[in-house]
Symmetry: C2
Subunit: 321 residues, 2 copies
């Protein structure tokens, strides 16, 4: 059996795993980014963890894949910058890790890596044209076109979260305005919830769920409330679903994918969210692309990043060799 190591870099944690060639996770490690003083010490700890995961079976390990939350040049293995992790400007992570651990390293954007995980081991298995949408603090995306990850001219493709929903609208962190993320990123969902609670036009038990500490409201709480039939929570998810549905209408008309896979914490809201998204796309997209697309939740949840990183290494090695 051949093995791969996956590294899933996040703003608060770096998850590492030893995976077999079917991308089953055999061993895990976890690093809290807050425990390290800076980029160099974190890279040192990542290298150290890889060496530990590989100990005894290094000769069976064919490569290391890394998913990083930011702009990555996968050809050079260069991280241009990371979102929410300061100090990572133009880091040649591939070169650094390869020299420390003596194994080939492959790096890509975290959402691209999740798209690869869904393509090879999740809902997108065997599909050729797939749009992946990742909902969370940020809203990201990955595109599988003609059976392969589509990266674009400067490797920044897939930014579904920064498609404008309206010509005018609120400013977004990206420098644009009225972007999808500005409506359905976690903090904006919470803002909407607080706003609706203030006006309280609908009966709700959300305050009860957070013991009247409204600062504890998050998408998980809103999902729980909706699943219990809370009308206000349901209305919030319907609003979120309509925003996502309008954005996907444009994407579906443009790319005519066979599948849209939606993952990330917000996707846990389940059927009320997905029903609204599907209804909006069916109402607004052109009939041919609307009929040819399925919109489904991601299969791989918290392990998508690790699995995708291992898939990245496995498939890049297969392609080059």
């Amino acid at each position: 059996m051949r093995y791969f190591i996956g590294v899933d870099m996040g703003a608060t944690q770096v998850k590492l795993g030893l995976l077999d060639s079917n991308c089953r996770i055999v061993k895990r490690k976890r690093l809290d980014t807050a425990a390290f003083t800076g980029k160099d010490s974190l890279i040192g700890a990542i290298a150290q963890s890889i060496i530990l995961l590989a100990s005894g079976i290094k000769y069976k390990i064919k490569g290391i894949g890394v998913g990083a939350p930011g702009l990555v040049n996968p050809e050079k293995g260069l991280i241009h910058y990371l979102v929410n992790i300061p100090g990572w400007e133009n880091v040649h992570l591939k070169r650094i890790l390869e020299s420390r651990v003596g194994l080939p390293v492959f790096i890509d954007n975290d959402v691209n890596v999740m798209a690869l995980a869904e393509l090879y081991h999740g809902r997108a298995k065997g599909k050729r044209n797939v749009v992946c949408l990742a909902l969370g603090t940020g809203v990201g995306g990955g595109l599988i076109l003609e059976g392969r990850l589509y990266r674009g001219a400067a490797f920044s493709a897939g930014e579904l979260g920064h498609i404008p929903l309206n010509e005018e609208g609120p400013s977004c962190n990206c420098g644009g305005r009225a972007c999808l993320e500005r409506y359905v990123g976690n903090r904006y969902i919470i803002e909407q919830a607080l706003d609706k609670l203030k006006k309280a036009p609908l009966p709700t038990r959300i305050p009860e769920l957070v013991k009247n500490d409204l600062s504890k409201i998050n998408p998980q709480i809103l999902s729980i409330a909706a699943s219990r039939g809370d009308l206000l929570a349901k209305e919030i998810w319907q609003t979120v679903g309509r925003h996502i549905g309008v954005c996907l209408t444009g994407v579906v008309n443009l790319l005519n994918p066979e599948l849209v896979v939606i993952g990330g914490g917000v996707a846990e809201a389940g059927e009320i969210l997905f029903d609204t998204i599907r209804k909006t796309v069916n109402e607004r997209a052109m009939s041919v692309p609307a009929q040819s697309v399925k919109i489904v939740p991601a299969k791989l949840k918290e392990n998508a990043g690790l699995i995708g990183a291992a898939v990245l290494a496995r498939e890049e090695i297969k392609r080059s060799g």
Copy 2:
């Protein structure tokens, strides 16, 4: 020298041409669709014209390419339907023409074919990731991704004209709402012009240009007026440019193309239109994709359809061996 025949089907005319392997047009023919009683007689005339174009050199002609304004299955050579040409439902045009003229026939959507023309003989030469936008009565698009025409799961990809610009807005012919076409399709540009003329907040000589017959206003007139410095006409093109710019912001963030090629009659408005489009994309798109994209007018004008159809045939034959 090898030759190809290109067929450019439009709502009012079918243009046909004999092209050499560098896609230079050697001979032409033209059919007025209104002169034919229906689909079958038009197909008969197309076949007849092909036979005339081929006469004497049929043995040098390697194939026939057809660009058709509607939904086409290029694998089967089947026209599902044509926009603005009634009666063309599920026509196996490839099969019919091949049996009548005895040469291989390849069919694709007209805007896809124009994208191929720009890729091989126009502004997109040598580029890998290109978005083509065709402005006219309808607003269409074609995508070149990783150096090849991207058609999507049901061959309907590229519908830039039906990306929503706003969550709410006017109904569109496609069944959706607030689509780009609904703002920048020819008739909507004219509507805006008439509306602005009624209010006349800006000095204008547009009525003079059409000898006070406002029903004669069209995008060409508005382009002429703008090029002469007419303030009202300039304002119209700036509004059109902003709409297109917002739409392209989403497309550029999503696909990170290196080039956007804009063709069709409306694109003749020139720098005032392109400056506004570029300014809007630079202001609103993310910095990496905004910096990596050039937005340019198409090189091939009225011959793009013929050239693209010949390219389609040439490249499909090359690919199949």
